[in-house]
């Protein structure tokens, strides 16, 4: 019966209500503030390519790393009922490895970039499985387990490149981090789309989604149905590792620079928030990757909006916190229920009135 209420409240969107409403509110707010805010222009960049530009592009482009991490984080959250807080540090490691491999010789070819990316992936997956092992086998709470890598990850990244902040300059790296000549859409955006498709295919051609949700909701029952929950949890961390490597590599490619201290700094909190705004239960269980992706864009849109309003970036975090508290509170079961009751009462009264009228 409470399900009916939820339906009324959500208008059929279910889990995606909060992120969609949030993004809609932000869009409306911005359109009122500045109707041209979302204007998209075509411009020539300094490499002579025609590219899209404007706030909308900044938002979608800027949220790329966050969106990719949020996809992986959703899976970890669903399977383990906890979050990986080491993604930023792990991305710094992956990014450092990416640069390290590229720096082995002066010239950078496509094949070498691929090799560097694969190395970054492998390293990130190893660190992912380290986290996963602590969580799945040693049953340490995810936040505590990943605190280890969170603490030492950037130091490890520091060692990889001997403490330097090496730079890369190559048209290929620019193509990855910025624009591919001839394509006006920022490459990171294309990578997000590709990753989303990969996840979609992963869920279509494997039973990962069902197994992950089962483990997250009821591990005991999942085990008695033959699901190897240890493996599922470990797998979620390894998949997150791939996401970390992709994000780290994008982050590095954007500027052609690895700064282990600042690469994707504090991204773990934004990632977890993206998952939460996406309507996913941080306690694990049912999940919607799409929600987390939208969540990532909500966060980014919020940041860009505040920048556009010339809010001091030191204050941005405080404003973000306020908006996020609102979103999370609105999405909380208590408010949902209250609102649901209110709506059903409203509908009831209305139907009574129509009866009277008849």
């Amino acid at each position: 019966m409470s399900k009916n209420k939820k339906k009324i409240f959500s208008g059929g969107l279910g889990q995606l209500t909060i992120p969609v409403v949030a993004i809609a509110l932000l869009v409306i707010f911005n359109l009122i503030r500045d109707p041209s805010f979302f204007g998209v222009d075509l411009a020539h960049n300094n490499d002579g390519n025609i590219v899209l530009s404007g706030n909308l592009i900044s938002i979608i482009n800027g949220a790329s790393e966050l969106a990719i991490l949020a996809m992986g984080m959703t899976l970890v959250t669903a399977a383990c009922g906890g979050q990986d807080i080491s993604v930023g540090a792990a991305a710094a490691i992956a990014g450092s490895v990416f640069v390290k491999v590229l720096k082995t010789s002066p010239e950078i070819s496509g094949g070498k970039v691929l090799l560097a990316f694969i190395c970054a992936c492998i390293v990130a997956m190893i660190f992912g499985s380290f986290n996963g092992t602590l969580v799945a086998i040693f049953k340490i709470q995810p936040m505590i387990a990943t605190l280890i890598l969170y603490t030492c990850g950037r130091s490890i990244a520091y060692w990889i490149n001997g403490g330097a902040t090496p730079t890369l300059s190559s048209p290929i790296i620019t193509a990855i981090g910025s624009f591919i000549p001839g394509i006006p859409i920022p490459t990171p955006v294309l990578i997000v789309i590709a990753m989303a498709i990969v996840f979609k295919l992963l869920f279509k051609f494997t039973a990962l989604e069902l197994f992950t949700q089962s483990v997250g909701i009821n591990q005991s029952a999942a085990r008695l149905n033959g699901i190897n929950s240890t493996f599922i949890k470990l797998l979620s961390f390894i998949i997150l590792g791939v996401c970390v490597a992709v994000s780290g590599s994008i982050g590095v490619s954007r500027l052609g620079l690895i700064n282990h201290e600042t690469l994707l700094l504090d991204v773990e909190m934004d990632t977890i928030l993206a998952v939460a705004i996406g309507g996913n239960n941080l306690g694990g269980g049912k999940f919607k990757i799409g929600g987390s992706i939208i969540g990532a864009y909500v966060i980014q849109m919020l940041t860009i909006t505040l920048y556009a309003m010339k809010v001091s970036s030191t204050d941005v975090k405080a404003y973000k916190a306020i908006v996020i508290i609102l979103l999370v509170v609105i999405g909380s079961p208590v408010v949902k229920e209250k609102f649901g009751k209110f709506m059903s009462k409203l509908l009831e009264n209305r139907s009574k009135e129509t009866v009277k009228g008849a």
Partner: protein, 504 residues
Amino acid sequence: MQDEVLLQMRHIDKKFPGVLALNGVDFTLRKGEIHALMGENGAGKSTLIKVLTGVYRMDGGEITVEGEKISIHSPQDAQNNGISTVYQEITLCPNLTVAENMFIGREDGAWIKHKDYEKRADEILTRLNIPARSTQQLENCSLAVQQMVAIARAVDMKCKVLILDEPTSSLDDKEVNMLFTLMKDLKSQGVGIIFVTHFLEQVYEVSDRITVLRNGELVGEYLTEELPQVELVAKMIGKELDELMDLGETEEKEKKEAEVFYEAKALSSSDALPFDFSIRKGEVNGFTGLLGSGRSESVRAIFGADKVTGGDVKIKGKPVKITSPIDAMKNGIGYLAEDRKRDGIIAELSVRENIILALQVLNGMFKPISRSEAEAFADEYIKVLNIKTASRETPVGSLSGGNQQKVILARWLLTHPDYLILDEPTRGIDVGTKLEIQKLVLKLAEDGVSVTFISSEVEEMLRTCSRLIVMRDRHIVGELKGADLNQTKVMKTIAGGETENVEK
């Protein structure tokens, strides 16, 4: 004392969107009586109780306590009016001590020191014969003791009306008797007890009066001694019980000639002592014994649910190794666990997903069952097992207990097992569904599926099983079949007389 009306509920209405859960229900509780509230799942018992305890607000009607009209808006209101509840699912905090659980959230306890708590708790526990210490962590107590602690808590709050919602579903006979002693004791002190249960025998053992609900409406109020058991069941399910009678008279269920499907020698697990066991193709046998006798642990060992520590297992004569559930499943074994909530349903997932789960696991990660296939499977079993659900996409957690159980049954049936282990499949389920499940078990056997059936209700097992393995204190103490399959014999074997009934 019995004629003094303690609680009166008149014309209670409760609406949920699209459903009239209670429709003008009357209920009267007198001082010092035990009043059984009966009805099938969905009859409105729980709703009525929740209205009374302030969990739901009624849409119409009135409640009086000792002649005074009261309004209940919250569980706190109910408590202040002397109405206390012990729910079906234990609602205490497992990580607190027994004493803390007994005094948590009680205003009168705000300034009492820990030591005083514990002293008072120990007094109550001793008085009520509850085998627990006040300083014990609640989660270290058995489920039964946890339940009794919940009752002790209610008792200590000096309630006038005590509601016991399925208090006995996880207690063994000894504990049930202890509870009944306690209930009678409270009754003599003038407490009115509302007793909700599925166990008919218990109703007749302890209650003075019975109120029957069906489909949210009052069927009637009866004196227990004037209402024969068969009539009670008829009133609950609203039809004559021919079917139930028929089932009892099923012909010879033994299948001697069939080949042995599963055979275990000295099988043991972390929780089960070594035991021998075998089952033939198409045979229905059962493990019986008191709670804690090792019956569940034994079947769990068969399925590899606990850590298997030893033993030789053969399937169709071939040695196999079963050390995990997936091994068992690959060998055609299915297992419906005792604790449906904890080990069975994936509550937030849909009926469809719950049904295909085991088959999907067998198929493996890389052969997902397509959406349309899954929908077809779900629809098929919803129809076959008559699962009452709004749709196949409804989260299984919102279904009634009986229907949840059917979903899990469907899950295993979909894997087309050769051997199905059903541990308490009928616990906490209404009579109608119980009957359906029993019939299903017999039909499966006819189709050649071996079934091991465990139930707390011996009668039910006698109806379905051709062979009963009796356990006591984690050992098999007897095996009954043929003429020995009767209530007296089973009881005797459970109670004692180890050697005389062992058949080899």
